[in-house]
């Protein structure tokens, strides 16, 4: 009954072009045990991927590796974070019996919703990526976020994968129940000096935490150059070298996390060649360095949502300077407080300047850039007007737009109409 009602609601919202969480809400009302029932007894279990940054990319990579190994994987492809969103995406794939036909589920959930989900379905595995300040008006403090991740680890029944370089995450090892395996991922000690590119340091305290020594089960990132890297396991194990479609150290560490988790899940069945070929084919998710062909010139859309993420994005893309626009909204999904822009250094934009700032907080962004001596050619709060101007005035140049979530939704919709792109949540490939 619940499945049928949900499917009707799903068809209805599809027609309206509505949000992805609504049909899930219908099912949840009708049968709160729906999730447990549908996900119970998946032969390979339920994997939850969470942390502040890189969830979407890492989830996509992990799913790709598992599918390359022949598994049927259920995932929440719309990036629909909430429990209801998970149910919504299940409805399309579920027979009326209410049992999901898949070997394994891999779900991207934000920190708070991961716990709500775990109250319904205990994850067999969880992959905890990192802790950074994000959406402060929702979760208030990173100490709180770290606590949520630790509680998720306590609910996990088989294996937990932790970031060895993030002391907030690595420390969670002490909270993992007896009998549950702990695996780590991180960067090779030889590139430890590049860690600041992956996390902000200024709000963390130097506490007495000694990171564990990695073993042969733990994957460590070793870049060869700007694009090529391998993931090392102990002295002899290695996955790679490989080159991702997505640029930058952040994407490499996400691939390292996905590889380490896949290896922990598949054990003896894990095949290096399959992992490499899967990872090399993964296209950047919507807005995570997605490249759009705009009148013959590349246009990169880069989602920014917190200081660590913006810092990583500037480090990743700053080395190849292009004409830049920054679009900042302050709706609920963006985080309503824009104070965090003052915790990002924009000096890497100084040489080329910024062509346009846009969004509800366009003037605040321009003001922020002024304090880093970055010239701003134009301020246009209206996103559609700004995009039109950006595309026409800089027609013959490669372009990049850094944008917050709701600004990206508006820009992406406009760009999709203009250049015939896949819709949000669909994959062009």
């Amino acid at each position: 009954m619940a499945v049928a009602a949900g499917k009707v609601a799903r068809a209805a919202t599809r027609l309206r072009g509505g949000g992805s969480a609504m049909p899930g809400l219908v099912v949840e009302r009708l049968d709160p045990r729906f999730l447990t029932h549908a996900l119970a007894n998946l032969p390979r279990g339920v994997v939850v991927v969470t942390g502040t940054n890189g969830k979407t990319t890492t989830t996509k990579m992990l799913v790709a590796i598992l599918r390359e190994h022949g598994l049927t994987v259920f995932t929440n492809p719309t990036g629909s974070n909430f429990t209801r969103g998970v149910i919504s995406s299940m409805l399309a794939e579920i027979p009326f019996s209410g049992r999901l036909k898949a070997d394994i589920a891999v779900l991207e959930l934000d920190e708070a919703h991961a716990l709500k989900f775990a109250a319904e379905v205990k994850p067999t595995h969880s992959l905890l990526l990192n802790v950074a300040r994000d959406q402060l008006d929702r979760f208030a403090e990173i100490d709180h976020t770290a606590k949520l991740l630790a509680e998720l680890a306590e609910q996990t029944t088989t294996g937990v994968v932790l970031n060895i370089d993030d002391s907030f995450v690595a420390r969670i090892a002490t909270r993992v129940p007896d009998g549950v395996t702990v695996t780590y991922f991180g960067v090779d000690p030889s590139i430890a000096d590049r860690l600041p590119e992956l996390q902000e340091a200024d709000v963390r305290f130097d506490d007495e935490f000694t990171p564990p020594r990695p073993t042969a089960a733990d994957g460590l990132l070793l870049p060869h150059d700007e694009r090529s890297f391998e993931v090392r396991f102990g002295l002899t194990g290695r996955v790679g070298p490989m080159v991702l479609k997505q640029r930058g150290l952040a994407a490499m560490i996400n691939a390292t996390a996905a590889t380490s988790t896949a290896k922990a899940l598949l054990a003896n069945e894990f095949r290096e060649v399959d992992a490499v070929s899967a990872l090399e084919r993964v296209t950047p998710p919507f807005g995570r360095g997605e490249v759009i062909d705009a009148d013959g010139q590349p246009l990169e859309l880069v989602l920014v949502k917190n200081p660590a993420g913006f810092t990583v994005a500037l480090g990743t893309y700053g080395s190849a300077p292009v004409t830049t626009m920054v679009a900042i909204n302050d709706n609920y999904a963006d985080g309503r407080d824009v104070s965090w822009l003052y915790d990002v250094s924009f000096e890497s934009l100084r040489d080329n300047g910024v062509a346009l700032t846009s969004g509800v907080r366009a003037y605040d962004m321009a003001l922020r850039l002024k304090y880093d001596d970055v010239a701003v050619a134009e301020v246009e709060p209206d996103l559609e007007v700004a995009l039109e101007r950006f595309l026409t005035a800089y027609k013959d140049e490669p372009k990049r737009i850094f944008c917050t979530y709701t600004a990206m939704m508006t820009l992406r919709r406009d760009l999709a109409a203009r250049y015939g792109l896949a819709k949000f949540g669909e994959d062009a490939a």
Binding site: R133, Y342, D343, D364, K370
Partner: protein
């Protein structure tokens, strides 16, 4: 301890101004370091030479400060600075009594008050430069704010669980036109005693409100050099538009 001069030996400088940012690691989680950055840049644009000193717990407090800044932090951050703050309370009180301008945001505003009473009823003493008392709440007061102040309308963003009451005779920093302010009930926001300003406003508050920034700079310059503040020419159009747009959105 770390002291850095923002410009190096500028021969045309009208004089050196020393800004002390207290507990930048522990107490500046919501971009409050932007206030320090703003003052340093504006001092330079006005023709003065800013010197930024970061004070960390356990170090000697610089008694030659011309301006003192503090921000908000997590509970764990507050716990890490309590002892050092108690240790330096007398220095800060005498600086305040002597007219040194100070701007304390959120958590440091609370610690500059008489006490913080936790939800469990525990009383954590502050250094009592401002006559305010804060009661911990389960509910957070979060959102954009517009205030009416002596420096015109001031915009910012509040994010605090403490509810603050002013003591009898204590002046607020501003009157709430939009937002919650000290406690969401009496319409007051922040507190001012002499040249010491306390407020919940992040944003950070100074970049978008240059009149407030320049008021602090004027006090610091007069204190440092014993002569009147001479304004440079600064184009504040971006700040003015950022601020007026927020005012229009929130109070029409």
């Amino acid at each position: 301890m770390s002291t850095s001069s923002a410009t190096s030996g500028d021969a045309t400088s009208k004089g050196r101004i020393k800004i002390v940012h207290i507990y930048p690691r522990e107490m500046s989680i919501y971009g409050d370091l932007g206030n320090t950055r703003c003052l340093a840049s504006r001092l330079r644009w006005h023709g003065y030479e800013p010197v930024i000193h970061q004070h960390h717990p356990g170090n000697d407090f610089p008694t030659d400060a011309h301006l003192v800044l503090g921000g908000g932090g997590q509970d764990s951050g507050q716990a890490r600075v309590e002892d050092d703050l108690a240790h330096n309370a007398d220095v800060l009180r005498s600086l305040a009594a002597d007219g040194a301008p100070m701007l304390m945001i959120c958590g440091m505003y609370q610690l500059f008050g008489n006490a913080f009473i936790t939800v469990e009823g525990e009383r954590l003493p502050g250094i009592a430069i401002l006559d305010v008392t804060t009661q911990g709440n389960a509910k957070r007061m979060v959102g954009p704010v517009v205030l009416e102040t002596a420096f015109g309308d001031v915009v910012g963003y509040e994010n605090h669980s403490g509810s603050t009451k002013l003591g009898p005779g204590q002046q607020p920093f501003g009157r709430v036109k939009s937002g919650m302010g000290n406690n969401g009930t009496d319409g007051t926001e922040g507190a001012v005693t002499g040249n010491v300003f306390g407020s919940y406003l992040h944003g950070p508050v100074l970049p978008a409100n240059p009149a407030l920034a320049d008021a602090l700079i004027k006090l610091a310059v007069e204190r440092a050099l014993g002569e009147p503040f001479v304004l440079g020419r600064i184009d504040d159009e971006l700040a003015d538009r950022a601020r007026t747009r927020q005012i229009h959105r929130l109070v029409g």
